[in-house]
């Protein structure tokens, strides 16, 4: 399990954009989804998701709206077209990077 309260550089953005590409979510939901899809490998100080979301929204990659569901009001985030383009870029960069590292250490990272 990798715990980094300062948010692993670049990794959270990729995960956040990828998960929000499927459906809109609010912060708590997103954090639990990150834990789930990574098999608890990536565990982060949960509160730090919000500055990351605010930053992506300030960049135009996300949009937010307040929704009340089952009597609870939450701010939901979703991808914008710019966010989808950014997801493609970040994913491509990540694949290139991990492939290069795999070659360097003599082990393929992506099969």
């Amino acid at each position: 399990m990798v715990g980094n309260p300062n948010f692993l550089n670049g990794v959270p953005e990729l995960l956040v954009l990828n998960l929000l590409g499927d459906r809109e979510m609010y912060g708590y939901e997103l954090v639990q989804a990150i834990r789930s899809v990574t098999g608890d490998v990536i565990v982060l100080g949960e509160g730090v998701i919000y500055p990351a979301l605010h930053g992506l929204e300030a960049d135009g990659a996300l949009r937010s709206r307040r929704q009340t569901i089952s009597g609870r009001s939450r701010i939901y985030y979703s991808l914008t077209p710019r966010g989808r383009a950014r997801l493609r870029e970040v994913t491509d960069s990540w694949v290139t990077l991990t492939t290069a590292i795999g070659v360097a250490v003599g082990r393929p990272v992506l099969g």
């Binding site: 309260p5 300062n6 912060g27 100080g45 949960e46 730090v48 500055p51 605010h54 009001s73």
Partner: protein, 216 residues
């Protein structure tokens, strides 16, 4: 929990994050704590235990503050570019004021007048004092260190008192518009500076009690 969120809120406000963004962040953290506490409680923990565990998982104040502060895009403009807000912008306002004053002098020139026409005192004093008041209000609200607002205030006061506009109407259609720049009157600088300082003291006092800021 109240102490954690209060600490985070105060440090972010003092660090130059806009109030609206801070309040949204705190509200989201609060909701997150509630959700996490409920989930942990459903998992078998007692309410108090669940709350304590949720606080640990949320993160400590340093981490929560640093993750917001480390992103410059999320900070208010007076903190991001204080030189532009407190020095360049007021200088441009003063220059625009001089331009408007020239226009006013030309428009009000009358062939029947022969005495020199100068700007009314309320313009000569009002524009810089209002500019300084605006600077101080921004500084108090955004909790900027005093150095930049003081530099801007000094620049405004000196510029306002170093420039004199006079329009002399001669006979017939001839007018002479003179814009002179010289050493500012020490008395005027001190008087306007004192007035600006008084405004700052009043605003800081108000800021401790109203939406301008939270009393520390």
């Amino acid at each position: 929990m109240v102490d954690l969120l209060h600490t985070v809120r105060q440090r972010l406000l003092n660090g130059g994050v806009p109030r609206r963004r801070v309040e949204r962040y705190i509200a989201e953290l609060n909701d997150h704590l509630d959700d996490l506490t409920e989930a942990l409680s459903d998992g078998g923990l007692g309410v108090a235990e669940a709350r304590a565990a949720a606080l640990v998982r949320l993160g400590c104040a340093e981490v929560l503050v640093e993750s917001m502060m480390s992103n410059r895009r999320l900070r208010a403009w007076p903190h991001r570019v204080p030189w532009a807000v407190f020095v360049v912008a007021p200088a441009l306002v003063q220059a625009a004021g001089i331009g408007l004053a020239i226009g006013w002098l030309v428009v009000t020139a009358s062939a029947a007048r022969t005495a020199p026409v100068t700007l009314p005192a309320f313009v000569h004093w009002g524009v810089p004092v209002l500019t300084v008041a605006a600077l101080m209000a921004i500084a108090v609200r955004s909790r900027v260190a005093f150095a930049w607002p003081f530099a801007g205030m000094s620049l405004v006061v000196v510029l306002a008192n170093a420039t004199q506009l006079n329009l002399t109407v001669t006979s017939g259609q001839a007018h002479t518009l003179a814009l002179s720049v010289g050493l500012p009157s020490i008395v005027a600088v001190v008087a306007q500076g004192g007035l600006a300082a008084l405004i700052l003291v009043l605003l800081r006092g108000l800021g401790a009690r109203t939406a301008f800021g939270v009393k520390e």
